[in-house]
Amino acid sequence: MGSLDNYGIVLALLGAALAALVPGMASAKAVSMGGIAGAGVIAENPSLFGKVLILQLLPGTQGIYGLIIAFITFSQIGVLGGSSEISFVKGALYFAACMPMIIVGYTSAIRQANASVASIGTVAKKPDQFGKAMIFPAMVETYAILAVLISILAVSGVTGLNI
């Protein structure tokens, strides 16, 4: 194992940490956007709390997806116990595997929050249109789901590689 290989685990952990960090940040921002819009609605009509809360929480999932990727990576690279001998290339691959989640997680959370805020506005005016209003933010989430999927598959795929 060359000296460079010592940094394999560093890269892998960096990827995992960013996967938890970046989408988490974005989700925090996104949920707060929903919260601000929601608080205004509640002031007018407190009975909408349940519906508005759901819309607020929708863009919160990216943070959770990031967490999942971080945990899967942790368990694969042996941070949670087990051996942590990872070559530099492998570490870089783990880092790359986390990228979809890091980037798409960030942007999709913010974009989804925009849709959520708009939907909260819809529900404020027409509470009975909640079912439709809920779908708009959920459409955005699709891409976060695709990203988490690719990251999961990539992280568990890298483990099987013999490099």
């Binding site: 929480l57 959770i64 789901i145 999961i152």
Partner: protein, 694 residues
């Protein structure tokens, strides 16, 4: 999977029975009154806006007084009271309310008046408190604050900023002796002084005082405020009495105001016993308002009136019998006309019924469409379960819902009942998938067995099928397979719908071609080594099957190009439209990929659950270990359940609305809204003994 057949109904009756007939219809709640007939010389609508206005006013009075009452004395209610539904009241109470009506309206008015009194008195209280603050530095002054002097002297009463000593002030005014300076009180911020000088020096003294930033006390004496001064003989306003006396009076008034507030509050609280009356007033007038709204749409002549609307075919006979037995009426019913916007009334079994609301929140079935609830419900529960996929969570949801359903089975309102039922079925499906993929609160059994009992023979409960975390590709394949089944079912629904509309050629063009193309496409894809390698599955088709699939796919693709643009006459345009329709296959591809969320959300639940258990097991050592363990497990899983149940709910809806409904369903109908009793607090229980509505 059905909608009830609706009929147009017209009821002709005599005006003298109008009130009773309307009340009967309202209680039965089976007719949606629609304004479908035109006015003419004989029949016209009557104006009910005045009556409606007064009812609306009473409703808002009742609502406001109830909310005031709630501010002062909370109604005792348990956490589960939301499940309880409206209380039942016998019809006699409804009829007997007429006598209490006037007094109840008076109570609402009185409560609102009292609330106003309290608000006014509270404002007064604030004002008085400011006066007290301003006056208290002057308490040692024994002459009135508006003292201006005597015949030969002039007095100045006011404040200087910052502390001053008596000598300091005398120094400044030394030139204008004789004078008298008193410091009434002194604080860091200000010094309250009284200066008395001779009249010939008054302007100069004032000038010097101004130079020291002398200001008059900022007490605005409200002359309209009438203090209780009957004991003082020759003093007409408070400004003419000394500050100490003034303070005394203001304090008296403060007490008086506080007492008034207390009295008003006590009186409001005393109306707690009438809370039910107020609620009933609200309901009573809501019902009457609805009645008047219907009344406003009725066509009436001098002696006759006509009610027109829609009714479910099954209800016609009962209603006709009941009406004709009591009143002189004529009823005719007929099939809806082509132009009519017929209201939608569902008829589903207990398994599918809870999802009618979900269909409604997309849109009720439009003209010529079928009710998708039954087919949707099968997939809905299954997909929800797959996304949550934890037997423990499912069990909790199902048991909690079942508990609510059983405990309040008699009184629970229908919408609430349906919601609970829906989650109960979702919970049961979740238990099923949890067992298939062996997830019980994550891997709680394994963790507990390993941490506390040292068991090494894991897993304790092996999955019925496999662990999704270990074989994500297999899970992905499974998710997409479910997606294909779901989409093809949607396509089949389209075929069924077209069959109902007797568009048999359309079935071949729009459904059969696509079926062949999609299935053959799947076969061809699975025959490629690359695809099977990615998916990690092994499928062996004989060559002949693949060849047939290729040819069939080609034929159906050509068929789609030729027929899917058939509404255009121009052949060129038609082919282009057909090509565009064929391009829709990319839509199918993205639809199928969309089902990968089944994998992602399922994994999310499992992984977070496992992480919670892992964190808990790290704290499990030591005497208090089990306590920490339990705490972390309970809180962690509660959070996980909450966030993932939300995700499962939202994404199940999405798969139904976007992927499934997108294949065949547009909606656009209107839900049947019968003329009935839509109250907030009570429901009227019919006396079933004689069934006579008075």
């Amino acid at each position: 999977m059905a909608l009830l057949q609706m009929q147009r109904i017209n009821i002709y009756a005599l005006k003298k029975d109008r009130k009773h007939i309307l009340e009967l219809l309202q209680r039965r709640g089976v007719v949606e009154v629609r304004d479908m007939l035109k006015e003419d010389k004989v029949f016209s609508k009557s104006d009910v806006s005045v009556a409606k206005q007064s009812l609306e006013k009473n409703i808002s009075l009742a609502t406001e007084s109830l909310s005031i009452l709630n501010n002062y004395i909370k109604e005792s209610s348990s956490m589960l009271s939301a499940l309880e539904g409206r209380k039942e009241l016998p019809v006699e109470v409804y009829d007997g309310f007429r006598e209490k009506y006037k007094t109840t309206v008076d109570i609402t008015k009185r409560i609102i008046e009292l609330a106003k009194i309290i608000a006014e008195n509270k404002a007064e209280l604030l004002k008085l408190q400011t006066q007290v603050e301003i006056l208290s530095p002057w308490i040692n002054l024994d002459i009135p604050l508006n003292f201006k002097g005597t015949k030969l002297t002039t007095g100045y009463i006011g404040t200087l900023p910052k502390p001053w000593t008596l000598e300091g002030i005398y120094d400044r005014l030394a030139d204008y002796m004789p004078l008298d300076v008193d410091i009434i009180s002194s604080t860091k911020e200000q010094t309250c002084i009284f200066v008395l000088c001779t009249n010939n020096n008054k302007d100069k003294v004032y000038e010097i005082l101004r130079g020291m930033d002398f200001t008059l006390p900022s007490l605005t004496i409200d002359r309209s405020t009438t203090f209780n001064l009957s004991t003082m003989d020759d003093i007409s306003t408070t400004a003419d009495i000394s500050p100490a006396m003034q303070l005394k009076f203001i304090r008296q008034q403060l007490d008086e105001t506080k007492k008034q507030i207390q009295v008003a509050m006590d009186e409001i609280i005393s109306y707690d016993k009438d809370r039910n009356k107020l609620k009933f007033l609200l309901d009573y007038d809501t019902m009457r308002l609805e009645k008047y709204e219907v009344l406003g749409t009725l066509l009436q002549s001098k002696n006759v009136f006509i009610i027109s609307g829609f009714i479910a075919e099954k209800d016609i006979k009962d209603l006709e019998e009941e009406l004709t037995s009591k009143f002189d009426v004529a009823i005719d019913s007929a099939n809806p006309r082509k132009k009519d916007e017929v209201p939608i009334l569902y008829k589903n079994n207990g398994f599918s019924e809870p999802l009618e609301g979900t269909v409604n929140s997309y849109s009720p079935p439009g003209k010529g469409e079928i009710d998708p609830t039954m087919v949707m419900s099968l997939f809905y529960y299954a997909l929800f379960g797959l996304m949550l996929s934890d037997a423990g969570y499912g069990f909790l949801i199902a048991v909690a819902c079942a508990f609510g359903l059983i405990k309040f089975r008699k009184t629970m309102e229908k919408p609430m009942k349906n919601t609970l039922k829906m989650y109960m079925f979702c919970g049961i499906a979740t238990v099923f998938w949890g067992i298939v993929f062996s997830s019980y609160f994550g891997d709680i059994f394994d963790v507990v067995a390993k941490t506390f009992f040292g068991v090494t023979d894991l897993p304790i409960i092996p999955p019925l099928w496999f662990y999704p975390v270990e074989k994500p590709m297999l899970m992905l394949t499974f998710a997409m397979a479910i997606g294909i089944v779901h989409l093809l079912t949607g396509l089949a629904m389209k075929g069924y719908q077209m069959a109902k509309q007797k568009d048999y050629m359309g079935i071949i063009y729009d459904v059969v071609f696509w079926y062949v193309l999609l299935i053959c496409g799947v076969v061809i894809l699975l025959s490629m080594k690359m695809v099977t390698n990615i998916l990690g599955i092994n499928v062996d088709f004989p060559d002949i099957v693949i060849d047939i699939a290729k040819i069939a796919a080609l034929v159906s693709a050509v068929g789609i190009i030729l027929t899917n643009g058939r509404e255009s006459k121009n052949p060129f345009k038609r082919i282009l439209k057909g090509l565009y329709a064929l391009y829709g296959i990319s839509g199918y591809l993205s639809d199928i990929l969309s089902y990968s969320r089944l994998l992602a959300l399922g994994l999310a639940t499992g992984i977070i659950g496992t992480v919670v258990n892992q964190m808990a097991s790290m704290t499990a050592g030591g005497a208090f270990g089990p306590i920490f363990f339990t705490l972390i497990v309970v809180i962690g899983h509660a959070l996980n359940l909450g966030i993932n149940a939300l995700g499962a709910y939202v994404h199940t809806n999405r798969l139904q609305y976007v992927e499934f409904f997108g294949k065949f369903y547009e909606g656009g109908g209107k839900v049947f809204k019968p003329f009935g009793i839509n109250t907030k607090y009570y429901r009227i229980k019919e006396s079933t003994k004689n069934g006579i509505i008075r």
